[in-house]
Subunit: 139 residues, 2 copies
């Protein structure tokens, strides 16, 4: 499902820190402390749309979305999950998974473009990535 | 995958016209002529998140998203598909599938809340729903 020539889009690289690798996708944490915001990026060169993945790839992406949704929901306060593949600005296929709370800085709007990104306290960011790794890759 | 007690959320009913029924989901056309904008609603009572569906339901939803994406992309000009399950305002699980064009009224932003809905010419709306039905339920 992945090819050696794949590399992460520079904009996604700039806006995130890595969490880990799933079978199909790289999991990233968006470095915006306003929202617990994860991004799944299938490691497939030239793929822009979900339907650019073959059927097994789509099935695996669905499985990974579910696994990440459950892990995120278990770790942070969450009234609603937002799951979205948009890609109008960054064409490399990526799926946003965001834990929303009533009263968060964009609620009830979608998060994109509503408020400026807020820097993480690095310890808080590291605690969240570590907790996600423990949940998704238990030892 | 569906139960007799399911009914469409009144807000989704008010903002759309029906296109047809897939195995899991009702397919709707959002009545906003700014964007070719479809909505899939699994006919499952009490389901708010993708992860509220069981694994076969998630797999079928994925299949239906792909089928609808391909049909929409074949019928209308499209630079990017946007696929999103948000649900901050309407808790009933529903998946937006929108054909985006460079230069459309919200481009490159996500569509929600950017411009007021624009009424369809009823003939244009009926042509689109008929073409979708021909593509998705060929006779």
């Amino acid at each position: 499902m992945s090819v050696p020539s794949w590399s992460l889009h520079p904009q996604l690289d700039a806006d995130t820190v890595p969490v880990g690798e799933l079978a199909l996708s790289r999991l990233l944490l968006a470095t915006d402390a306003n929202f617990p915001w994860l991004i799944l990026v299938p490691r497939c060169e030239g793929v822009s749309e979900i339907i650019d993945l073959d059927a097994p790839g789509q099935a695996e992406l669905t499985r990974e979305i579910a696994v990440v949704c459950r892990a995120l929901k278990a770790l942070v306060p969450c009234d609603k999950l937002n799951v979205a593949a948009l890609g109008n600005m960054v064409p490399q296929l990526h799926v946003h998974i965001i834990a929303r709370r009533r009263g968060d800085p964009a609620w009830p709007k979608p998060i994109w473009g509503v408020v400026p990104a807020r820097a993480y306290d690095s310890a808080a960011r590291d605690r969240l990535t570590a907790a996600l790794r423990d949940a998704l890759w238990p030892t």
